[in-house]
């Protein structure tokens, strides 16, 4: 585990998922900045400059795709890697997200927390 804690931005409107995910990442030694909607997420990305963004798609105020579009339009933050964590497997959204540039698209229900955190750790540390 590295000495400088990696900062993860978690954009998730479902509080149970947010709590579970935050706990697992924190236990793994990462710093988690959590947001409950799209607007909050975008603001925190700009202010916190996380190492990785975990982005849900269906969120209040701004959808994940809108956040992603704004992020990619902002030179200051466009290079922060984004991992989509969604429960939607609609092709259209997957296609849009991949077109805008993401490092992955995970269906939350199909991952155990263990697998998820292993993958995230690999991304930020590897």
């Amino acid at each position: 585990m590295s000495t400088t804690k990696k900062k993860i931005l978690l954009a998730e409107d479902d509080r149970f998922l947010r709590r579970a995910c935050e706990t697992a990442l924190t236990r793994r030694g990462m710093t988690v900045v959590a947001a409950g909607d799209g607007e909050e997420a975008l603001a925190l990305i700009r202010s916190e400059r996380p190492d990785l963004i975990l982005l849900d798609l269906l969120m209040p105020k701004m959808t994940g795709i809108e956040v992603l579009r704004a992020l990619k339009a902002d030179a200051a933050i466009r290079d922060i890697p984004v991992l989509i964590l969604s429960n939607s497997s609609r092709e259209l959204e997957m296609h849009d997200a991949e077109a805008l540039g993401v490092v992955g698209y995970f269906i939350k229900a199909n991952f155990s927390l263990q697998e998820l955190v292993d993958r995230i750790a690999a991304m930020v540390e590897g």
Binding site: D14, L17, R19, N87, S88, S89, K108, A109, N110
Partner: protein, 794 residues
């Protein structure tokens, strides 16, 4: 020279001598044979003609007995008897006898003898004088004549010609017995005068005959040859061919006509029968309907065979009556009440002549109206002389009676009935054919109606996609006004109607693999550009060799249903998301709750709750997949895919699971396996599903083997297990949605009932087939095929 001036005695001697010389000279000069024998038959005189004819010299035979040298042995007795008769004065004198003599060199000559006797003064016969004429040559000629006469007579008899010989100067005529026989007369019964003959000639033929005779006598024609009708003793006319040659007098005039009559009756009848049969058969062949066939049929037969009126009576089976049905009348017969009444007649079985023919099935022929009381009286009154009736048998029944009337007397002709029997067969065949045609027309009409009125679009296309025929509903569905508008399409239907022409190719592959296809869904572009969803049922129609001739099937607009499905699909997507989110929450929070320090019991509850959540998530995922495959909205990315590589990857993923159950999971190598055309993600899903199932339903320690090989344009992939097997009753339903075999629950209760359904959706969508073979308690083999990727069309 005057011997007479000698002495009287001398003169007497001289006179005798002279007389002897004179007699001998006469005997020797006359061209007749003269032989004189005595009472015993000893030759005393033998003249020169005898010497010439027999070859003997007088000296050779003098003093010899006649039969020692001249009479052949077989005539000895007859000769002696004849000699005795003469000697005793019996019989005529001179007597005449024909006999044969033997010549010196052994030949035989015929001699006609005239014999006389010389008696002495007491009246006793002393000599017999035979005068003979050699008739051998004449006898030969007579024999030849006799033979040639015989042959001539035989030839005449064989040719059945009547011979006549008319003396133009006297008007006398000779008729041979056969000549009379042709006309029904005894030999000699016909008065041998030309005037009588001329009365026998049919009135219509008389002028023609006179002209022909005159032309021949004038030398205007080389031959006399004419067909005539001669009145038979019975009253009917006999057709004859009359031929003659003239015999000329010394001054070159024709004085006699010698000729023959050939009876043409049978020839004419045969011609008429043939013509009638031909005409009838033609009418039958050309008949379009039964109604107009019958009058034409009657007309054809009557005209060909010279009947004046023809009538058909048909059996009315309901009333058990025979009724007039159709009548034909020669234009030369005046229309009258009788002819009209023919149609209106009706007979009970055995009633009247037609009723009798109907009842007995036996034809009737009355040649002369006056000769039979059975002759229909109305026909007699109308001038008819002959009637013939024959039954028409259809099926096993006498179904009709044909009647033919003639104003001429026509002798019975049994061959005519035979001809009608032949025609009867044609009639029956025609009626059967008509009935079949009618039934076919009716069936055709019905089907056409169904096709024309159907709300489903119906069509036939070539495998290449050229439209052969469509019904109005097909045109309407695709926004065209008429079927013709679609038939006028240039080129392939696929390019014009299918929104994704690739779907047409998928359709073609499916139908060729399976022979038929149900519910194939595709998007088509209407004439107005609007895209609609259609569902297509189709089958391949093959020729005898098994080659596909065309596809035929139906098409229905399912756009409404697809929209509903889309809503459902959208709903499923939404619901899926909404379900997955709390499920993921449960799953993750349970995972967090599973701390090492927990009591074992609590830990096991949490473990089970996690498994439950996972199963629920799987079910939701499967439902989503099914929904997406069913809606056809899933974008697939078919590409050449190595099934062995995909299988190897899946085996890697499942190896751990297999080891846990101590199962042997093996992938048999398949070197040189060609790639198949499929979306690799979907291929993985199929293989994962099938192999997981195999492991799941195979007990611990069992074996699961995967093998694959290329076969006939496809790769066949198979996974065999040593599992519990699938009941035969379930094997067919295995690939249905939500279906689970009864015994599945014994082993594994966590299946969703959607896995194999998804497998089928994917395989069929990719142009393959999936099926299973299984024996309960032994194991199962699941197989699927996928088409080999065509390298030329990546």
């Amino acid at each position: 020279m005057s011997p007479r001036k000698r002495l009287p005695i001398r003169r007497t001697q001289d006179a005798l001598e002279h007389e002897r010389i004179f007699t001998e000279t006469v005997l020797d000069t006359a061209g007749v044979l003269v032989v004189v024998v005595d009472r015993q038959g000893t030759i005393v005189r033998f003249n020169r003609e005898c010497e010439r004819v027999t070859g003997y010299r007088f000296g050779d035979v003098r003093g010899r007995n006649l039969w020692d040298c001249l009479v052949p042995p077989e005539q000895h007795a007859a000769f002696r008897a004849a000699l005795d008769d003469l000697a005793e004065g019996r019989g005529d004198s001179p007597s005449r006898i024909e006999s044969v003599i033997l010549t010196k060199d052994g030949n035989r000559r015929s001699i006609a003898w005239s014999n006389t006797t010389i008696a002495d003064e007491a009246g006793a016969i002393t000599y017999v004088i035979g005068c003979g004429v050699d008739t051998t040559e004449r006898r030969h000629a007579e024999e030849a004549l006799r033979l040639s006469e015989q042959r001539f007579a035989l030839a005449m008899q064989a040719a059945n010609d009547g011979v006549w010989d008319r003396n133009l100067e006297t008007g006398e005529v000779y008729y041979s017995p056969r000549w009379s026989d042709i006309l029904g007369y005894e030999d000699g019964e016909v008065d041998a005068s030309i005037a009588t003959f001329e009365r026998l000639v049919h009135p219509d033929d008389r002028a023609r005959r006179t002209a022909a005779v005159n032309a021949y006598l004038r030398g205007a024609t080389e031959r006399y040859e004419i067909e005539l009708r001669l009145r038979h003793k019975d009253g009917h006319y006999v057709p004859v061919l009359s031929r003659a040659t003239g015999a000329r007098s010394a001054d070159g005039r024709i004085v006699r006509l010698i000729g023959t009559h050939v009876d043409l009756t049978e020839q004419r009848r045969a011609e008429e029968r043939m013509a009638a049969q031909y005409a009838a058969t033609r009418v039958l062949a050309e008949a379009t309907s039964l109604k107009d066939m019958v009058p034409k049929f009657l007309c054809a037969i009557c005209e060909a065979a010279g009947w004046d009126v023809g009538c058909a009576l048909a059996v009315d089976p309901d009333a058990e009556r025979l009724r007039g049905f159709a009548v034909w009348r020669s234009p030369s017969v005046e229309a009258g009440d009788w002819e009209t009444s023919l149609r209106g007649r009706s007979f009970l079985p055995a009633e009247g002549l037609p009723g009798r023919v109907w009842a007995t099935g036996q034809p009737e022929w009355i040649a002369s109206a006056d000769a039979s009381a059975d002759f229909p009286s109305a026909a007699r009154a109308a001038g008819m002389q002959t009637v013939c009736m024959a039954p028409l048998v259809l099926g096993d029944r006498n179904s009709a009676v044909l009647e033919f009337y003639s104003r001429d007397i026509r002798p019975r002709d049994d061959a005519w009935f035979e001809m009608l029997a032949t025609v009867n067969v044609h009639v029956e065949q025609t009626l059967q054919r008509k009935q079949m045609e009618q039934e076919l027309d009716e069936a055709e009409r019905k089907y056409r109606e169904i096709v024309e009125q159907s709300l489903h679009g119906m069509y036939q296309t070539t495998p290449e996609g050229r439209i052969i025929s469509v019904n109005p509903a097909f045109a309407r569905t695709l926004g065209y006004d008429t079927s013709a508008e679609i038939l006028n399409f240039e080129g392939r239907m696929a390019d014009q109607l299918y929104v994704e022409p690739g779907r047409r190719e998928e359709f073609r592959k499916l139908i060729e693999a399976k022979g038929a296809i149900l519910g194939f869904e595709a998007r088509m572009r209407r004439k107005d550009g609007v895209v609609i969803w259609v569902s297509i049922d189709a089958r391949a129609v093959r020729d005898r060799s098994g080659a596909i001739k065309y596809y035929e099937g139906s098409l229905v607009d399912i756009t409404d249903r697809k929209e509903a499905e889309q809503m459902k699909s959208d709903f499923v997507s939404f619901a899926t998301h909404q379900l997955r989110t709390p499920l993921a929450g449960i799953k993750w929070l349970l995972e967090l709750a599973q701390a090492p320090e927990l009591p074992e019991e609590i830990a096991s509850y949490i473990q089970d709750a996690r498994a439950s959540a996972d199963r629920l998530i799987r079910l939701v995922n499967d439902l989503l997949d099914v929904s997406r495959h069913e809606s056809g909205r899933l974008t697939t990315n078919p590409q050449p895919t190595d099934l062995a590589a995909v299988s190897s990857q899946v085996v890697g993923e499942l190896l751990l699971l297999a080891r846990e159950k101590n199962q042997h999971l093996e992938l048999e190598p398949a070197p040189g396996l060609p790639p198949v055309m499929v979306d690799p993600k979907l291929a993985r899903e199929v293989i994962l599903n099938l192999v997981s199932n195999a492991l799941r339903y195979t007990p611990e320690g069992g074996a699961v083997t995967i093998r694959m090989h290329a076969d006939d344009g496809a790769v066949e992939w198979a996974v065999r297990d040593t599992g519990i097997g699938i009941p035969a009753s379930a094997q067919n339903r295995l690939f249905e949605k939500f279906y689970r075999a009864d015994n599945a629950f014994v082993v594994h209760t966590e299946g969703t009932g959607l896995g194999l359904y998804l497998v089928r959706l994917i395989v069929e969508r990719s142009g393959g087939l999936v099926w299973c073979e299984s024996t309960e308690g032994v194991g199962s083999t699941f197989r699927f095929t996928l088409p080999i990727a065509d390298e030329r069309r990546p």
